[in-house]
Subunit: 159 residues, 2 copies
DNA sequence: AGGGGTATTGATACAGTATAACAGTTATAT
DNA sequence: ATATAACTGTTATACTGTATCAATACCCCT
């Protein structure tokens, strides 16, 4: 399990790195990263935060790439299905994956004060829950792990 | 971590047991289990499945206990806040807690075919995620763990 | 190159989920 | 008793997500 980041980072290279990784994946697997899909991913990478579908739609609309909900939702469906973007169920929002291509069960730390979201990289929860599921005869296909609380910055401000 | 139940059980005593536990908790903590709140809990215990807020509202309406969304949502807010009911984020639905009063981090197994939900009883995920969060300086207050897949019954039917 | 099947986009309408705001009522604590 | 806080009732509206069908672009095959 790697540590998530509420800290600063080299954002430009983080964006281009993720985008390249996704493009490579799509090429390898024969997936079509169409203009709308690519742009939605770029918007999410650029904002580097969880965004609602309608926030994304507003940006698409401003760029003339489609203005109706299904445009955004379909692009998001594609990106989520292939794990390039994760949905934060707690927020009904979407965030670009921090490790596209790497097999992992994402876990998120969500600040209830500023809504910032950090992605943790783990495979352990799958194993844990897997034991319980096996006993019950349940086959897990996908796991949602989201922890809500206070990020370091908001703790300081609350103090 | 205890095993969840997709199996049959003595439902009448399961309902009365949970309800009594909640009533005792409310008495001990000075919480007000008002008629609407109690009825919403009873409905969820009775149905023993995840229900949408509007499904619950339909039943309240049929019983003359209030017909507008805030009535149901406010009762659910109370029940969720005090952990008598859990929200299944993946389904935008609510389910009565199987272990009211016992301190636990709930985890759910959600069948994508029949939407049945089983609650697993665990404290381990908190510890796991806790390590990651501690490294990041993040304070966890609440955790959502939801695994989606196929329940035993739907696996048979798919075969 | 042409043609047929599939995937994707565009557009309209609508369904489902949730909350803001304010007035009226009930319970609780001095 | 009465002041305070908590809860309920009601209206209106905001937010999130999907069904449907038509039009277009892509891909593979001959």
């Amino acid at each position: 399990m790697t540590t998530p980041g509420f800290e600063h980072h080299d954002h430009a290279s983080c964006i281009s790195g993720s985008l390249e990784a996704v493009e490579k994946q799509c090429k390898d697997k024969g997936l079509r990263l169409t203009p709308v899909r690519k742009r939605v991913l770029e918007i999410l990478l650029d904002e580097h935060r969880a965004m609602g579908a309608y926030d994304i739609l507003d940006r698409l609309r401003a760029e003339g790439l489609g203005s109706q909900p299904p445009i955004a939702y379909r692009a998001l469906d594609f990106l989520v299905k292939h794990r390039f973007v994760h949905k934060i169920e707690r927020l009904n929002a979407f965030i670009a994956c921090g490790h596209p291509g790497e097999r992992h069960v994402p876990a998120f730390l969500i600040c209830r004060s500023c809504d910032s979201v950090a992605e943790a990289h783990t495979d352990l929860t799958q194993g844990r829950l897997g034991d319980v599921a096996r006993d019950a005869g349940f086959v897990i296909e996908r796991t949602v792990v989201e922890a809500e609380g206070l990020c370091p910055k908001c703790q300081e401000e609350a103090a």
